[in-house]
């Protein structure tokens, strides 16, 4: 089925590949590390990554090499690399597979990134629920340390990089990079006000880079095969490389598919994921995790790259593509996601903390056929007053499901409210009253 070369999933797709150090080395693993450490100056590694066009795979899509370039050049104290393995965005399950099936690919990327930014300590912040992935990473770190790929004086080059696994404990917001740092410092995971950015004031106030698992996993391949090679894949110049898309929902073969950036949703669903479960037409899809606004069948030929999805009014985000068939209630779907955001709001900023509660209450009553027509106006107003008014991007994310569904499926909201009106089942209390 794949008509293109796999990069990140290549090893694990070999029958019997177990992800041990020997298997990884046999597949060419740690060659990039051998060829880079002590041989290519760190600044040139950063330059290569910048030239490759690699952008963050966690959600925001920030250019990785540029992010590294923000670290102060002359700073003498410690610097840190954090691998963001807090995969929690609903619809996303790629990092889990990368960690559990080919952990050394990530470790090699971590050492390369640490070398480039001058960090001697790297922490893998992994979501607490992924116990198996944490164990597999711990075991892989042990193997790599014994083989001299991690630790002091790596392969005699004088480069030191220590890697530690740090488990989170169940908080979506800790995937936000400054909340991740707070959590790693042993505090409540509340996002920090920026600036200053982690590049100058990160973990323990030191220069820090936070990169996603999939981002780091790309690094060995970029160093092995060159920035030009990577930059030629996908949808250049701005969306280079492959993406591991996580397809979920009403498709026949859900799962992770690594494809060059720029394939369309139609191709992803029908050529890779086997088409729709009960052969009903697609009603809606989310292109990039729960934080990305819903799109419609009219967008099926939108290219899955950063720019095209943004131009269509959504975002490529974390690569979680959720597909819904005809017959799915979009108001119900928006409520389900809204409940997620309500549960996960960290509580730091009032618009998000209070707003998510109001939004959930209004959505619940509309779905329960007890809504009022003016609720629609209130929903829109609330959304406008949350987005852009919070410390982190969570505020923008939490309004995405409602704004998206109100835009394309307003008639479904209206129909539910009409039913309430017809049955005279309208709740009397104003929006925002405590349940």
């Amino acid at each position: 089925m794949p008509r293109h070369e796999l990069i990140l999933l290549k090893n694990m797709m070999q029958p019997g590949y177990g992800g041990s150090l020997t298997e990884y080395e046999r597949a060419g693993g740690y060659q990039a590390l051998r060829a880079t450490l002590g041989k290519i100056p760190p600044a040139d590694v950063t330059a290569a990554v910048r030239k490759s066009g690699l952008r963050g795979r966690g959600g925001a899509g920030f250019p990785t090499g540029v992010k590294w370039g923000f670290l102060p050049k002359d700073y003498q104290g410690p610097r840190y690399l954090c691998c963001n393995a807090d995969e929690s965005e609903p619809g996303t399950f790629k990092d889990r597979q990368l960690m559990e099936r080919d952990p050394h690919q990530i470790l090699e990327g971590i050492v390369l990134a640490s070398y480039a930014i001058g960090a001697e300590t790297a922490y893998i912040y992994i979501r607490g629920e992924l116990v198996l992935a944490a164990k597999i990473l711990e075991r892989a770190i042990g193997e790599a340390r014994t083989a001299g790929y991690i630790g002091k004086n790596i392969l005699g080059t004088g480069v030191n990089v220590d890697v530690w696994v740090h488990r989170g404990a169940g908080a979506y917001i800790c995937g936000e990079e400054t909340a991740l740092l707070e959590s790693l410092e042993g505090k409540r995971g509340l996002p920090r006000v920026k600036p200053p950015f982690p590049a100058t004031h990160g973990l323990y106030g030191k220069p820090t880079v936070v990169n996603n698992v999939e981002t780091l996993a790309n690094l060995p391949h970029i160093m092995n095969r060159g920035a030009e090679w990577f930059a030629s894949i996908g949808s250049p110049p701005k969306s280079t490389g492959t993406r591991v898309f996580c397809v979920s929902g009403h498709v026949k073969r859900p799962g992770n598919y690594e494809v060059p950036m720029g394939v369309t949703v139609r191709e992803l669903v029908y050529d890779y994921a086997g088409g729709m479960r009960s052969d009903k037409p697609i009603k809606a899809f989310i292109p990039g995790g729960a934080s990305a606004p819903f799109l419609t069948p009219a967008h099926l030929d939108v290219k899955l790259d950063f720019e095209s999805v943004a131009a269509a009014g959504s975002m490529l985000g974390s690569g979680g593509v959720t597909v819904m068939e005809e017959g799915t209630s979009m108001v119900w779907a928006a409520l389900r996601l809204m409940e997620f955001f309500y549960h996960e709001s960290c509580g730091k900023c009032s618009p998000c903390r209070e707003g998510s509660s109001w939004l959930v209450q209004i959505m619940r009553r509309i779905v329960a056929k007890r809504g009022r027509m003016e609720d629609l106006e209130t929903l829109s107003d609330l959304c406008k007053n949350i987005a852009g008014r919070t410390v982190c991007a969570f505020g923008d994310a939490e309004v995405a499901p409602i704004q998206g569904t109100l835009k394309y499926w307003r008639d479904e909201y209206v129909a539910l409210i009409r039913e309430a009106e017809a049955a005279n089942l309208i709740m009397p209390e104003p929006a925002g009253a405590k349940q």
């Binding site: 995969e87 619809g91 597979q97 198996l132 404990a169 323990y204 996580c246 729960a290």
Partner: protein
């Protein structure tokens, strides 16, 4: 037994990983939960002592994170994902089955103290839903028959072969 006695080496190892002691807070809370099944007030006070924190600093942190239990839970903590992606493929039905089979709803524990049911948000398993986590293990692509076998296995032997191994989905097509 205190944590410092029981997990002396583990604690030393954890502390050696961080330049600032407080970073060891979540790892130490996991040790406490491993020992008692939940984090006791005594453990919080002891951990505060180890990390030079005040007990309220430990408490304010622990209450932020959903994975720490502040009161005892059943021997098997069933956590069913209720987020949209699992809901699209039937997680509400799974909750219904559990209710019928074990007689417990969300937040409840069976009378024999074996099972506690919780509904949780996305567990990064959206392509293999509906799914649940029981203690440390994932169980995916649930059907009623599979659920029956898992519950029976847990009751009789305390573990089930149906738990997920290293994750990959879809599996490669063998040609």
């Amino acid at each position: 037994m205190s944590l410092s006695e029981k997990y002396k080496d583990d604690i030393a190892d954890i502390l050696s990983r961080y330049p600032v002691k407080r970073s060891a807070l979540i790892p130490l809370l996991y040790l406490a939960q491993q020992q008692d099944g939940y984090v006791t007030e005594r453990a919080m006070i002891e951990i505060a002592g180890i990390l030079d924190l005040t007990p309220p600093q430990v408490y304010e942190t622990i209450t932020f994170y959903t994975m720490f239990n502040l009161k005892p839970v059943g021997k098997f903590h069933i956590q069913v994902c209720k987020s949209l992606m699992c809901a699209l493929v039937g997680s509400d039905t799974v909750v219904g089955w559990i209710k019928t089979k074990l007689g417990i709803g969300p937040g409840e524990t069976t009378a024999d103290g074996l099972f506690t049911l919780s509904l949780v948000e996305c567990l990064a398993s959206c392509g293999t839903g509906p799914m649940m986590q029981i203690n440390e293990d994932y169980y995916e692509r649930l059907t009623e028959e599979k659920l029956d076998r898992i519950l029976a296995d847990l009751k009789s032997t305390g573990s089930s072969q149906l738990k997920s191994g290293p994750f990959m989905w879809p599996e490669p097509i063998r040609t």
